[in-house]
C-alpha cells in the first residue's frame, strides 16, 4: 500500500435491517487532497464516513485509513482523525471552553491551555468561553464543533456537512483554513450539499442509494456528465417553464431567480425544444451556457442516474 493514500477502503457494505444503506463502496483519497462527498439526503454519506472512522462496523469490505486497518485498529485511527458529526454532538451543558478542554484531554494533548486559548481566539469566542455550548446559535455551534475536531491537529479530517447553517463569511474562512491544512498535507473528506463548496474540492465522490456513481477530479465532472444547458430569461417565464417541462430532450428545468436553466443530455433535442419555446413565447431570451455544478447535481439527484458509468 502506498503511504500517500490516506483513505483506501474497498467494498464497504452496511445494512440497517434488510435495507442496504451503503453498497460495495470503494474510495481512495490521496494525502493532502480535499475530497468532496456528495449525494442526496439518505444516500449513505454519514454512514460511510462513520465506517471510515470506525464508528460503525461494516458488514463486509476492508481497508486502511492512515495505514491502519479499519476493522481491527480503529483506536489508532481515531487518534489521528478529526471527525465532525453532522448533528451537533458536543456537550450542551458544558461551557465552550470546557468542551474544548475535554476533547483536548481525551487526546492527551500537551500545552492544553495554550491550544484551547488559541482555538478560542481563532474562533473569535475567547470572550464567550464560559458560555454553555447549548446556548450558542446554530451556526456558532457548528463552528465550535469544527474547532473541536481540529484541536488535536489530525492528519485526516472527516467533516459531515460542516458548514450547514454557517454564514457565508464563516464558510469562506472555513474553506481558506481547509486549503491551508491541505497545503500542509492534511487530508479532508467533506460532505456537503452546497455546490459552491463542491467546486472547491479537488475531487468529488457522488453517492446515491448507497452506491458510488461518480468519483473523479472535480474539473472533469462536467465533461463526464456531458450536460447541455440553455438559459431562458424574460417574460412570461411560467408559461415557458410549463412548455419546456413537457418537451422531449429537456431533462431538467431549474429556476434561478429571474431566469431559468433548461438542461438535457441530448444537445440536439434540447436545442429544438428551447427554440420551439422561443417561437411560442417570442418575448423570452434564450442563450446557450455551460452546465454548472448546480445543474449537474440537480440533474443527478432528480433520478436520471441510469445512463452513465
Amino acid at each position: 500500500m502506498s503511504d500517500d493514500i490516506v483513505i483506501d477502503v474497498r467494498g464497504l457494505t452496511k445494512s440497517f435491517g434488510d435495507r442496504k444503506v451503503v453498497d460495495d463502496f470503494d474510495l481512495k483519497v490521496p494525502r493532502g487532497a480535499i475530497y468532496g462527498f456528495l449525494g442526496p439526503n439518505g444516500s449513505g454519506k454519514t454512514t460511510t464516513i462513520r465506517m471510515v472512522c470506525g464508528l460503525l462496523k461494516p458488514e463486509s469490505g476492508a481497508g486502511e485509513v492512515l495505514g491502519f486497518d479499519v476493522l481491527t485498529e480503529s483506536p489508532r485511527i481515531k487518534e489521528r482523525v478529526g471527525y465532525m458529526t453532522q448533528k451537533f454532538s458536543l456537550y450542551e451543558d458544558l461551557s465552550i471552553r470546557e468542551n474544548l478542554e475535554f476533547i483536548a484531554r481525551l487526546y492527551g494533548l500537551d500545552r492544553r491551555a495554550e491550544r484551547v486559548d488559541q482555538a478560542l481566539v481563532d474562533l473569535g469566542l475567547a470572550e464567550r468561553q464560559g458560555q454553555l455550548a447549548g446556548k450558542l446559535s446554530g451556526g456558532w455551534k457548528q463552528r465550535l464543533a469544527l474547532a473541536a475536531c481540529m484541536i488535536h491537529e489530525p492528519e485526516l479530517l472527516l467533516l459531515d456537512e460542516p458548514t450547514a447553517g454557517v454564514d457565508p463569511k464563516a464558510r469562506r474562512d472555513f474553506w481558506d483554513q481547509i486549503r491551508r491544512y491541505s497545503a500542509q498535507g492534511v487530508t479532508t473528506l467533506v460532505s456537503t450539499h452546497y455546490m459552491d463548496e463542491a467546486v472547491q474540492c479537488d475531487s468529488i465522490a457522488y453517492i446515491a442509494y448507497g452506491k458510488k456513481l461518480i468519483d473523479s477530479p472535480t474539473a472533469d465532472i462536467p465533461s463526464r456528465i456531458g450536460l447541455s444547458c440553455w438559459r431562458i430569461a424574460g417574460r412570461p417565464l411560467m408559461q415557458a417553464q410549463e412548455l419546456l417541462e413537457q418537451s422531449k430532450g429537456v431533462d431538467l428545468v431549474a429556476r434561478f431567480g429571474a431566469e431559468m436553466h433548461a438542461c438535457g443530455k441530448d444537445a440536439a433535442a434540447l436545442e429544438r425544444a428551447v427554440r420551439a419555446v422561443k417561437q411560442a413565447q417570442p418575448h423570452v431570451d434564450i442563450e446557450r451556457i455551460e452546465a454548472g455544478f448546480e445543474e449537474i447535481f440537480i440533474y443527478l439527484m432528480s433520478g436520471s442516474i441510469d445512463n452513465f458509468q
Binding site: 462513520r50 472512522c53 483506536p75 487518534e79 471527525y83 451537533f88 454532538s89
Partner: protein, 392 residues
C-alpha cells in the same frame, strides 16, 4: 505497510482494556461539571437519605399506644388481678377482650382484632410462690416490628410494677432479681423482629442502592440520547476508561450519603457504632462500587433513559424484598434466597448490621466481603464486555 509510525509500545493489552489516566480524568472532570450543573439531580441525591431517615425515623420514634390486646386468663388470684388492673390502666394497650380459651385468643390475634395476646397460664401464682419461675406468655403480631418492640417493653414494665406491691412480707424473697416469673415473647409473622436498630443501618444499604444504581444507569444512555456518544466514540477512549471516568465521581456522592446516615444514626437514633470503622469503610466502598457497576451495566443494556429507569426499578424490588431488609432472609424460600445472594445489598446488610450492632471486625465479615467482591468483579466484567464501541 508503513513502518514509520510506532505501534502501541510495551505490553499489548486487548484494546478495550487500554488505560490512559489522562482520558479517565477527562471523563471524570466532565461528569463532575455536569453533576454540578444538574442541580435537581444532585439535590435529590443528597435529600434522599435525609428524607428516608426522617420517614423511617418518624416511624421508629412513634411511641405506640392503645394497641388492642386480648388477655387469655386461666388463673384468678390476687396477683393476677393486680396485673390485670395495671394492664387496664396502661395507655400502651387496650384490653379488648378476656378470652377463656386459647382458640378464641388465637383467632383474635390472627384476625387482627388484637395485636397482642397476653396469656397467664393455669397455676401461675402457685408456681410463682414456689419459685418455679412460671411463664408469662406474650404473643405479638410483629408484622409491625416497631409497635411490637414498644409494647413488649411496656408489658415487662407493667408486670414489674404490678407485682412489686405483692412481693412483700412473707413473699419478699420474690422481690430479688431476677423476677420470679419469665416473660416469653412469641413474635408472630416476623420472627426476626426487625428492630429500630436494625432499620437505620439497613437503610444505608437501601439508600446507596437506589441512588448509585439510578444515577449510573443513565450514564451511557444519556450520552446516546443526546448524541454526544458519537463525539465520545470518535475519540480513542477505551471502554475501561469510560467506565472508570463515569462511575468514580459518584463515589463522592455515596460518601456524603454515608456520612449523613452515620451522623443521623448517632445523633437522632442513638445507634452505637460497635465494630471496626475500617472494616466498615472497606465494605461500604466495595458496596458503592458494586452498585455503580450494577447501574453502569444497566446503562450498557438500556437504549433510552426511560428503559434505564425501568430496569433500575427492576433491581430495586428484589433489593428491598429479597435482601433481608423487609423479610428475614433465612425464612425465605430457597429460590428467593438464591436471588438475594446475587444482590450486593444482601451482603452489605449483613455486614453493616454485624459491624454497627454486633461489633464485628474484618474477620467476622469476610464471609460477606468475598461474595460482594465477586459480584463487583462480575458486574464490571459484564459491563466492559457489553460496552458498544460503535454506534451499531
Amino acid at each position: 505497510m508503513s513502518e514509520s509510525r510506532p505501534r502501541t509500545a510495551g505490553l499489548k493489552l486487548p484494546s478495550f482494556l487500554e488505560l490512559s489516566w489522562s482520558r479517565v480524568f477527562a471523563v471524570f472532570l466532565k461528569e463532575l461539571v455536569q453533576m454540578r450543573r444538574d442541580r435537581p439531580t444532585f439535590a435529590i441525591m443528597i435529600m434522599m437519605p435525609i428524607m428516608q431517615l426522617l420517614l423511617f425515623g418518624y416511624a421508629i420514634n412513634t411511641d405506640p399506644r392503645h394497641l388492642p390486646a386480648v388477655v387469655e386468663l386461666r388463673e384468678d388470684g390476687p396477683m393476677t388481678r393486680a396485673f390485670l388492673a395495671s394492664l387496664h390502666a396502661s395507655t400502651y394497650i387496650d384490653i379488648v377482650a378476656i378470652a377463656r380459651g386459647p382458640d378464641e385468643a388465637e383467632a383474635m390475634l390472627r384476625s387482627g382484632e388484637a395485636t397482642f395476646l397476653i396469656s397467664i397460664p393455669q397455676g401461675f401464682e402457685r408456681r410463682l410462690v414456689r419459685g418455679e419461675r412460671p411463664q408469662l406468655l406474650i404473643a405479638a403480631d410483629a408484622s409491625d416490628p416497631v409497635a411490637a418492640g414498644g409494647v413488649i417493653g411496656a408489658v415487662e414494665r407493667i408486670a414489674q410494677s404490678a407485682f412489686a406491691p405483692e412481693f412483700q412480707g412473707a413473699l419478699s424473697y420474690l422481690a430479688r432479681p431476677p423476677p420470679p416469673y419469665e416473660i416469653v415473647v412469641h413474635r408472630r409473622y416476623n420472627p426476626a423482629g426487625v428492630s429500630a436498630f436494625n432499620i437505620v443501618p439497613a437503610l444505608l444499604g437501601v439508600i446507596l442502592t437506589m441512588t448509585m444504581v439510578m444515577i449510573t444507569s443513565i450514564a451511557l444512555t444519556r450520552e446516546s440520547e443526546r448524541g454526544t456518544m458519537e463525539t465520545l466514540l470518535a475519540t480513542p477512549i477505551s471502554p475501561l476508561e469510560v467506565m472508570i471516568g463515569k462511575t468514580t465521581p459518584y463515589i463522592g456522592v455515596g460518601a456524603i450519603q454515608v456520612a449523613i446516615v452515620l451522623v443521623a444514626a448517632a445523633l437522632l437514633f442513638r445507634i452505637p457504632f460497635a465494630g471496626s470503622f475500617l472494616a466498615f469503610l472497606v465494605a461500604v466502598t466495595l458496596f458503592i462500587f458494586a452498585n455503580l457497576m450494577l447501574g453502569y451495566l444497566i446503562s450498557t443494556a438500556a437504549r433510552t433513559q426511560l428503559q434505564a429507569m425501568q430496569m433500575t426499578f427492576f433491581i430495586f424490588l428484589p433489593s428491598i424484598l429479597l435482601s433481608g431488609f423487609m423479610f428475614p432472609f433465612r425464612a425465605m424460600p430457597d429460590w428467593a434466597q438464591a436471588i438475594g445472594t446475587a444482590l450486593p445489598i444482601t451482603h452489605f446488610l449483613r455486614i453493616v448490621r454485624e459491624i454497627m450492632l454486633k461489633g464485628a471486625g474484618f474477620a467476622d465479615i469476610v464471609g460477606d466481603l468475598l461474595p460482594l467482591t465477586v459480584i463487583l468483579l462480575t458486574l464490571a466484567t459484564l459491563a466492559l464486555l457489553r460496552f458498544r464501541r460503535t454506534l451499531d
